[in-house]
Symmetry: D2
Subunit: 362 residues, 4 copies
């Protein structure tokens, strides 16, 4: 009910930040799909911590061990299962926080829900570390989508007050964006990095927005109403910790646009129908229209900050303050980019699996 | 897979805009819950068309006929089923549109997905009319939530460029907002109505944003990851036609806020924990924290406009233009307000049904 | 959670025996499938009451009204919805039973579960009458399976102590069994009818077994473990009221057979693999093997009998006796035959919808 | 879709017989439930191979390693995950079988479904070895049911032609049945062991039936129709390899019983309602009636036999014969007893989790 996703595939994610391991099972995948483990590792390394100034110094190799579902480089039809053992755990960092919920984290809500039995170390099951198994599943789906000619790209749309260049929604060219810090405009990238560095130097953190594009997606994918592409993508993207807003196409700007501007007119191009614009983000009525599917997910600032914050001591029943020690990202957005891609890949691949062939009226 | 929703309750919505009837079944509801049908009718009438200047002149009473699940004013444990027969259908209005997909509507994507077999009249199953059965289910859930002290309020946050007053997210007072045109600030209300009237007079339409508050919700509701309150609400809200953005708490502004501002500090009030602010919109780690749950859904402008638009003729294979006749809302937002409340009510009631009691650590 | 079924299609059944109507919604069906309503009516009439000596004299036409999902004789991709209004209700028959649960019925368990709020008239939602909407859904699936060359047949395997002829499980010829009383051996049919008549004359009832064959089913349908063909069929067949046993292939006889007899050896026939026997009922590891899929469902005797039975008065808290008046089948089995076929058709069609194409290893 | 189970809890099972590991994730379990790992190990050891004459000599400790969900002897609310690494694999035993499907096994159906990409060694994901993770999940659920006063017992009802004593369905006393070979009647136990030994000495195998009792279950558990206790139990029990029949209460005998005998009359005992008999196996209308829930699962003979069998060579396209070498149980039934209990425990615990509190009519 909680950490499972999918209508056709069934993804189940488990583990706690400082428990023995994190992992996933992915059921319902056809047999005979090729799996390139090296490529998967490259994808996972984009999310892995400890690589540069703007991410936590906690070092984890994040090398998944596959326990089932693969054979000789192909899926074998059995559920795919993979684990990553937690090596670099330092649960002592969290000892003094046990009774004092960190503002912005799930510590307090977990305490209410699980009555004190929750694994609080490092946020337990609520930790951003759980996005690693999401990336295993997503990295696999991404490979299978690529086999079908469907590519997923993304860039950092905004960090703090700094925005990247706008993409052309009809023909978004994100192929050449550097993967290490995926921003189109090099000046904006520098400013974003400065923004992160400043937040860090203040003992603070900062939020941002990731924009994701699914290119090469055929028209006709998705279902009406609650099975629509927006609904399916939203359910999984909001499962990524710290996401607080999700927009498709023009998103919140849709409030300000008149229909005459917001509607995407059609034209014929070499005999086939093509929308001239892409304000809808590639989805109408929950179903893809053949344009690039475009969405943006906004992440709040990392709640863990070195600055003193007001909280309560649940044990003594007194007001108190805390400073979050431990190792934390001053801005989660750069590492969140592949996670958003992974979520998109899983949602899209799930919809494609459920896409039944329709007769054509003669 | 498509028009069904719910982990614990099971909602299934059916019907087409100009078919015999629209309706819903709602399974998994406990027996013995009181149902006030008059109150439900008042709720449904907030969504019903044909009432004023800013909605379609199509007149439908939208009076549901209950076929099962109710007995003597209480739920009886059997699935609840209700239908609304379509009376005022004018499918002739759509004849010339059969081969020319209307920009912004699902006509083209439905054509691709259903191969010409879809019911195209009035958008068929993709019509906003399908929100009527959603409001039947939601109106019932709303009543049951009220029995538990949980209230759902909303207001029009924005239409076009006009914004309503901001609410205090810790103590949002929306009880007294007029239901007929739910805006806090009377001047803003007038300007919004002018905006709609202007769009209409130009043969155009306009979008907007609805803000919804679930008040009185206890802490501890929701599940981690994909079962989180954001994910559950997002899946159903994105099932409402025309929604293109969804934000929780500060929403897209989270990108610009540092952690020191965005985090909600805790204090003790009469011995119980209370967040001092509510930037998170009442949800941390997918689980409610006892603050009002606050979200905003942005609707695009009604795609049906009298202005000439460019499209294609699928039959002749030629570019052409069309003007959408028929009866349409120049702005869907005022009528969408109860629909958003209905969606919220269903999602929240579903989560409450799935909320298992936890032992408390001594 | 209760009256819904399906992994790929989503069936939802509603209504109570003496409520306004019974019905179903069937979501997830591809567009463009032909629907022959006359053929459906013929199928439904096999289940309809009031036709002969061995069924209840309650007369209901059981003519479904389709509210959505069909257009010009084809599915249109929207959820299919149909209702049957209850006309010949006589809830007065049940007045004296309200407080005295009928042995063998769900009266007592419904009372415990629904706390007195249940619709008790005629068994409410637990009534065998709810198999009519199951037959609407099943009758449709049966037509679509026939389009693929998959036929569903069945016969009465046993009533009381009387058994029909055994079928050849490799080549079961049930096409010519009369639909009115589907028994292969005419003498056995006569004896079964005598058995029913005798039970009726004693104010009693009798049970029996239906055997069902799905012929023409390709190999490779179904999933391992809980998604296996047995699991999927069992979930829906046990949803038919009064079913108390379900067997596949040799069924309970499997306990007595050594592996050397029970295993089905393979041979090559015109270059393709064919099992020589069919003890497994066409399923190995949850997946079809290309043989006819064969199962048997055993129904208990109709609990409603004119004979005096011991029960309790829940209101007065005293032991008492009752005689069930009203109109009842002395043996439900003949009318259950199409219901079992319907259940099989739904389960099989659901599995086929979920059957993803696999690459073939070169 | 395949190896997942549960409406309220979500069980996902993975692994292949000779792959790196087998395991399970179990999501949706409340926090704060105690877990006795030693007791779990004792339960698992009842299923473990290599212990006596009637089971395979393959030795596996079957000691699960918990990767998540447990903390200090309690569930912590996060998904529970456990793996058992496969140590004693001998995939070489299966080399000559790759192209020659073993009769009675899923080799051929897996080949058709997975197109040659399946993991064939030891039956891969179809192996009975996958019941070990089922027993992890079931052993945990069993402990939590015991905390509520619900006990699960079972005995071998029949092996080959030998039957155990009948139990009294109103008051089944199975507490004292020896766990090593759970048969009530010691003479019958001896004859069953002889039957197995004879089959083994002939290079053959034999089937049997397990009878399972859930005692102490309150009335009111389960849902109508497809969510009924029979449906829920059937889906999981038929997920156990080799089950070919499932009966509740009198089971197939219900065909022969008149209603006057089959109905369970009610009486009042110390002011509460009690059925006098228990032919229904504790379930009416899919809902428990407070009597012991009783069902029987019939297992076919182990398909792996040393006797020569006819099969085909898929590579050469010729008829051939094979003898199954490797290590196999001559009768799977004794080791299947805890597996059936595990399946029952999971299904019952799932239903209890979904059981919503109902108001009582005053």
């Amino acid at each position: 009910m909680s950490s499972t996703y999918g209508e056709n595939l069934k993804l189940s994610i488990f583990g706690q930040s400082h428990g023995p391991a994190i992992g996933m099972t992915l059921d319902g995948i056809p047999a005979g799909l090729p799996v390139d483990l090296e490529k998967l590792q490259q994808f996972l390394s984009r999310r892995a911590p400890g690589q540069n100034d703007w991410s936590t110094p906690r070092k984890e190799e994040d090398r998944p061990e596959f326990l089932g579902g693969l054979l000789d480089g192909f899926t074998c039809g059995a559920p795919i299962a993979a684990v990553i053992y937690n090596k670099n755990t330092r649960s002592g960092d969290y000892d003094n926080l046990k009774n004092c919920p960190r503002p912005g984290h799930a510590d307090y809500t977990a305490q209410v829900k699980y009555g004190g039995f929750q694994d609080a170390a490092g946020g337990g099951h609520f930790s951003g570390r759980l996005t690693a198994p999401l990336c295993i599943a997503g990295g696999l789906c991404k490979q299978w989508l690529e086999e079908m000619g469907i590519q997923i790209y993304s860039h950092i749309y905004r960090i703090g007050g700094i925005e990247d260049d706008f993409i052309d929604p009809v023909n978004p060219r994100l192929q050449d964006v550097p993967l290490s810090f995926p921003v189109i405009n090099a000046k904006a990238a520098k400013l974003m990095q400065d923004t992160i560095a400043q937040a860090k130097s203040r003992g603070d953190s900062i939020g941002g927005t990731v924009e994701c594009v699914v290119a090469g997606l055929p028209a006709g994918i998705g279902e009406p109403m609650f099975g629509g592409a927006e609904s399916r993508i939203a359910q999984i993207v909001y499962g990524i910790p710290a996401v607080k807003a999700l927009e498709f196409g023009v998103g919140t700007d849709a409030a300000a646009l008149p229909g005459s501007v917001n509607n995407d007119p059609y034209t014929l191009e070499n005999g086939s129908v093509r929308p001239l614009t892409n304000r809808c983000g590639g989805i109408l009525g929950g179903i893809t229209n053949g344009m690039p599917l475009i969405f943006r997910a906004t992440f709040k600032a990392t709640p863990s900050i070195a600055t003193e914050q007001q909280t309560v001591n649940l044990k003594t029943g007194e007001n108190t303050t805390l400073q979050v020690k431990g190792r934390h990202d001053p801005c989660i957005v750069p590492r969140a980019v592949p996670v958003v891609e992974a979520a998109a890949a899983i949602a899209v691949y799930d919809m494609i699996l459920g896409n039944t062939q329709t007769n054509r009226r003669k």
